[in-house]
């Protein structure tokens, strides 16, 4: 088993990165790997509660983050500095996450076998 980290730095809907990352998370889970997902910069917006995408005719994929626990993916790390810079707090997010600061995230990243960037 390898330690995978997916690094999400893009807002949802403005580009395809967020959705692609989620697909890869599910694939990695299917292969029973040790998966961590990190949300940095605009990536924290992917987890914002209350998305209503009907008017932009796009699928709202945010509920999937809440279902990741069923696939034994419970290591969702949100960089606290990124969240604060956007005026958000943990209660604004759709699922339970581990809030960690930049230094702790850097350390976690060092421990990975594979880092995938989105």
């Amino acid at each position: 088993m390898k330690k995978f980290m997916l690094v999400n730095r893009k807002a949802p809907y403005g580009s395809i990165y967020a959705l692609e990352s989620l697909e890869v998370v599910l694939i990695a889970a299917a292969f029973e790997q040790d998966v961590s997902v990190a949300f940095i910069d605009d990536g924290v917006y992917q987890l914002k509660k209350g998305m209503q995408t009907k008017a932009i005719a796009t699928k709202n994929f945010s509920p999937t983050y809440r279902a990741l626990e069923d696939y034994d993916i419970d290591k969702l790390y949100v960089e606290s500095e990124s969240l604060a810079a956007r005026g958000l707090v943990a209660e604004d997010l759709i699922t339970d996450v581990k809030l960690i600061d930049r230094a702790a995230l850097a350390e976690l990243m060092e421990q990975q076998d594979v880092v995938l960037s989105f």
């Binding site: 893009k10 807002a11 949802p12 809907y13 403005g14 910069d41 605009d42 917006y45 914002k48 509660k49 209350g50 998305m51 209503q52 995408t53 009907k54 008017a55 932009i56 796009t58 709202n60 945010s62 810079a85 956007r86 005026g87 958000l88």
Partner: protein
């Protein structure tokens, strides 16, 4: 002139360039640029400053999609797609800051 911005203010420098060159008229924030019009975002102070010279609008469907509709900064005018069209028609020209 109508200035249209679609990039997130904390990811790209597009909003800064647009605000630097937009002297009067209107600024319409769409797609990821709507984050600039949300309370507590790092770009809030510069947007507030710009509102002294520009009328600022944000596209509501994009705010709703991002779960940010209830965080719109006071003084920013929400518009729907029809409002978007009206803004384009009302202004003699427009610049899309892609």
């Amino acid at each position: 002139m109508l200035h249209i911005v679609n990039k997130s203010p904390l990811e790209k420098g597009t909003l800064d360039t647009a605000l630097g060159l937009a002297r009067s008229g209107a600024l319409l924030l769409i797609e990821d640029a709507v984050y600039a019009a949300t309370r507590g975002n790092g770009a809030e102070p510069k947007l507030r400053e710009a509102m002294q010279n520009l009328k600022v609008y944000a596209l509501m469907p994009d705010l709703q999609a991002r779960g940010m509709a209830d965080r719109l900064i006071d003084g920013v005018n929400p518009v729907d797609y029809e409002g978007f069209v009206d803004l384009v028609v009302e202004h003699p020209n427009c610049q899309s800051w892609l």
